[in-house]
């Protein structure tokens, strides 16, 4: 079923329809392209959910693929021949009659189940069963699907484990391998990560080039390196005894590296306003990825919301793709974004699309139709089918924190004092690089140096 030519379109089935896609493009992007913005419904209140983050973070895009429920569609590439359907909603995900639960949300506030039927045990038991059905409990994978995700276990003996294959992770892996250490690099999907869709300029080896280009070069070098094993997968968790299982296709790799390099990048942060979960409200990197990597443009009119320098690059990317950007809302009082971009918010003031204000609400019955923006105390409703949320990102340092936490040994105390741990410097056995460490711009040379220190510190250079 896979096409012979890498760019020849392939077909898959989506709820009885045949959709065509470029091989490698994400399932979610192909569904969006076909004019279907609602991918699933929320669990309890049945609110429509759609493509939001693009990077397997938000959980708004699960679909059933070949009988396996709950597959993240924004990071699963189309290979051709898949049978895809949406999961929640009756009679369909588009028109869910149980959406009444959301419309009645006023009457069923969070935690309502603890107030109901407390003196009527039989009714309570019955209500619980009904709630279970209504909440739309999922399905089992089909036996074939279950067989397809079965894994075998393998021990990985690499000295250095690099988690994350963006610019920093690739550079660190090359640095470590350069010292003679054996390296395993884990990354879900195509190497390069978020940089693949970025226009910012990066300096590497005394040359400057767009991030996507640098990412591409580093990725090729990694793939060509004999001492770097590249695994398309993700880390399950950090466990006691330094065990770091990596889940890949058909495989669980049991890694116990001498040194761990955390290069897990950053998260886009959602905006806080009513309707922020509506299909059509999309986080910045998710927008870039759809435009640049999946090469899909499912929008016509966009509002970009920012708290710093990320707004204009996003607006430019959208306009280049033919989307009309009707407003760039710069949130009042926000500082400069630490992301690379053309500069702090005030430098955008010469742009007539810029509104100094605040997004108050995302409107639309099922999907985004308009954005309420408050400027100088007055609320304006701006028609748009995309609200791009480009706020300062947050370091994705979960794995690093988890290692600190597990290594410290967790007994039960209030607070615990680990959340404020300083992750910027290397600790014995672990280094954090790139945006995971809070670096505010891509710095492959620095990541390379950290990787080299990790490699030589792992005690494997002798004899090589």
């Amino acid at each position: 079923m896979t096409s012979a030519h890498p760019d020849e379109p392939v077909a898959f089935t989506f709820e009885g329809r045949t959709l065509s896609a470029r091989p490698g493009q994400s399932i979610a992007s192909a569904i969006l392209q076909s004019g279907t913005p609602v991918l699933t419904r929320s669990f309890k209140y049945r609110r429509p959910r759609g493509y939001t983050c693009g990077y397997d973070i938000c959980g708004n895009c699960p679909v059933t693929i070949n009988g396996l429920p709950g597959v993240t569609s924004c990071t699963t590439p189309v290979r051709g021949g898949e049978v895809v359907r949406r999961e929640r909603g009756w009679p369909s995900t588009d028109r869910d009659l149980l959406r009444a639960t959301d419309l009645m949300a006023r009457f069923v506030p969070a935690g309502f189940q603890f107030r109901l039927f407390r003196s009527r045990p039989r009714l309570a038991h019955l209500a619980e069963k009904v709630m279970g059905r209504v909440a739309g409990a999922g399905r089992f994978p089909t036996p074939q699907a279950a067989r397809a995700v079965r894994t075998r276990t393998e021990v990985d003996a690499a000295d250095v484990l690099v988690v994350g294959g963006g610019i920093s992770g690739c550079a660190a892996a090359l640095g470590a391998a350069g010292t003679g250490a054996s390296v395993t690099l884990v990354h879900p999907g195509r190497l390069g990560g978020r940089a693949n869709a970025r226009d910012s300029i990066v300096t590497h080896d005394r040359e400057t080039a767009p991030a996507a280009e640098v990412a591409g070069r580093l990725a090729s070098a990694v793939l060509a390196h004999d001492d770097i094993r590249v695994v398309d997968g993700f880390v399950m968790s950090y466990f006691e005894t330094g065990m770091i299982p990596v889940v890949a296709d058909g495989l669980v790799l049991e890694c116990r590296p001498k040194h761990l390099v955390v290069a897990t990048g950053s998260y886009d942060v959602p905006g806080l306003f009513p309707g922020n979960d509506k299909p059509g409200v999309v986080l910045a990197d998710g927008v870039s990825k759809l435009l640049r990597v999946d090469r899909v443009v499912p929008w016509r009119r966009a509002v970009v919301m920012t708290d710093g320098g990320r707004g204009r690059p996003l607006a430019d990317q959208l306009e280049q793709a033919g989307v009309e950007v009707v407003a760039i809302v710069v949130q009042r009082g926000a500082g400069a974004s630490p992301e690379p971009g053309p500069g702090p918010a005030d430098r955008q003031l010469d742009d007539e699309r810029v509104l100094l204000g605040t997004v108050r609400a995302a409107r639309g019955a099922r999907v985004l139709r308009a954005v309420d923006v408050e400027v100088d105390g007055r609320v304006r409703t701006i028609r748009a089918d995309l609200l791009c949320v480009a706020l300062a990102p947050r370091p994705a340092n979960d794995l690093a924190l988890q290692r600190q936490y597990v290594t410290a040994g967790t007994t039960q105390t209030v607070g615990g004092g680990w959340a404020g741990a300083d992750l910027s410097a290397s600790t014995p056995g672990m280094s954090v690089v790139g945006s995971a460490a809070g670096w505010t711009s891509d710095d492959p040379d620095r990541a390379h140096a950290v990787g080299a220190a990790a490699g030589s510190g792992s005690g494997s250079t002798q004899g090589k």
Partner: protein, 396 residues
């Protein structure tokens, strides 16, 4: 953010009763004390209410045990569970969907008639199921393992946080002060009597101190010079993403050392153990237990193959050699009461709280509670219970 029912401010200089530990045991005891008129009570916890094993357990509830002592204590609890939502004015989501102790080995099959006959003798109603009946009850279970079982129809499970919150609020309404973030360093005694506790914020006087410190109860005992053969043990659980409703009752499999149920949302919740207990107070989860759970649960319910695990977590308990709880006044220290060594302490709490409160307020030990007093451990007696899903390390 504090939970409704948690006191603001610092504890007073003295109380009639100080309870150490705001788990389900400490809170149930405090609530029952207040109900019987003793309201000048403080519950002290260094963490948050339910932050110990009480918020980390399998939520399973039954009274169909093989020994008279266990059956009678836990039957009182089971009866309390069905009235608790109304009494606490809080729906604890008690689900009397039944509790199956699965027989998977020849040995278990041979014994199940005998066990059920004993249960009938103790007044605990249970049903003996053959292979066909078990498969009808749990159609998704692997037929090789579902060979028989003992089913208790009115048992089941409840929401563990709701039970903690329910007791917490009801105790607070009745006048009990529950403090979070107060670490008790020692039990203070003088001349064989308890006089109070030493905390990180100073001493608090009390003529009665209740040790309900869960995994840390032995550490507390040592400060009062009470020596019991207890060990800490870590237990782990998983919860999966929601799947269709396929399992109505709670299931325990002594042979696989596992216990599980499915929530109303469709999540499958299960824990397993390996022979020999994991003696630590760490709350880290481990890779080998994650594998053990995944392997055993897919073996018992093959349809779970390919279903994702959403979360896993660990909790810690303290255990006596016979795995039975220790309930009652500590030997040698009058006024110092114990509700400790709980391995099935979620299901046991409603009864234990009531019985311990009764013994404190009346000075008489209720008959159902008497066998569980600490003396048995010092005198080397043990309570023989054969249907537990816990390992003893071959020590009892």
């Amino acid at each position: 953010m504090t939970l409704p029912g948690v006191a603001t401010g610092r504890p007073k200089a003295g109380y009639d009763v100080v309870v150490v530990g705001a788990g389900v045991q400490g809170l149930a005891t405090a609530y029952e004390l207040a109900r019987s008129g003793v309201t000048n009570v403080a519950v002290l916890d260094r963490s948050w209410p339910g932050g110990g094993a009480s918020g980390r357990n399998g939520e399973m509830i039954r009274s169909a045990f093989s020994s008279r002592e266990w059956a009678q204590l836990f039957d009182l609890s089971l009866r309390r569970f069905s009235e608790l939502s109304a009494e606490l004015d809080f729906n604890i989501l008690f689900s009397p969907s039944g509790y199956l102790v699965l027989s998977t080995t020849d040995e278990e099959l041979r014994r199940q008639d005998l066990v059920a006959a004993k249960q009938a003798e103790y007044g605990v109603q249970s049903e003996i199921l053959d292979a066909a009946e078990v498969r009808r009850l749990v159609p998704h279970a692997n037929p090789e393992l579902a060979r028989g079982g003992i089913f208790q129809r009115r048992a089941g499970f409840a929401h563990h946080d709701a039970v903690v919150w329910g007791y917490l609020r009801a105790a607070a309404r009745a006048g009990v002060s529950v403090f979070s973030g107060v670490d008790v360093h020692a039990v203070l005694t003088s001349g064989g009597r308890v006089t109070g506790v030493r905390t990180d914020g100073g001493d608090i006087a009390a003529d009665i101190v209740v040790n309900a410190a869960g995994a840390y109860s032995d550490d507390l005992n040592l400060t009062a010079d009470v020596h019991l053969p207890l060990v800490k043990a870590r237990l782990e659980m998983i919860v999966t993403e929601p799947v269709k409703p396929f399992l109505r009752c709670a299931v325990a499999t002594p042979h696989l050392l596992g216990y599980c149920h499915q929530t109303a949302r469709g999540e499958f919740v299960g824990g397993t153990e390996l022979p020999g207990h994991d003696e630590t107070d760490s709350l880290n989860t481990t890779y080998h237990m994650l594998r053990d759970m995944a392997t055993k649960w897919v073996r018992l319910f093959p349809d779970l193959g390919g279903v994702r695990i959403l979360r896993n977590w660990a909790g810690t308990v303290s255990q006596a050699p016979d795995l039975a709880p220790v309930l009652g006044e500590a030997p040698g220290v009058s006024g110092y009461h114990l509700s400790i060594a709980w391995v099935y302490g979620f299901m046991g709490a409603p009864a234990a709280g009531r019985l311990l409160a009764e013994s404190i307020t009346t000075g008489r030990v209720p008959a159902v509670m008497a066998p569980f007093e600490a003396r048995r451990l010092i005198e080397g007696r043990s309570i023989a219970e054969s249907t537990l899903v816990v390992t003893t390390d071959g020590r009892s």
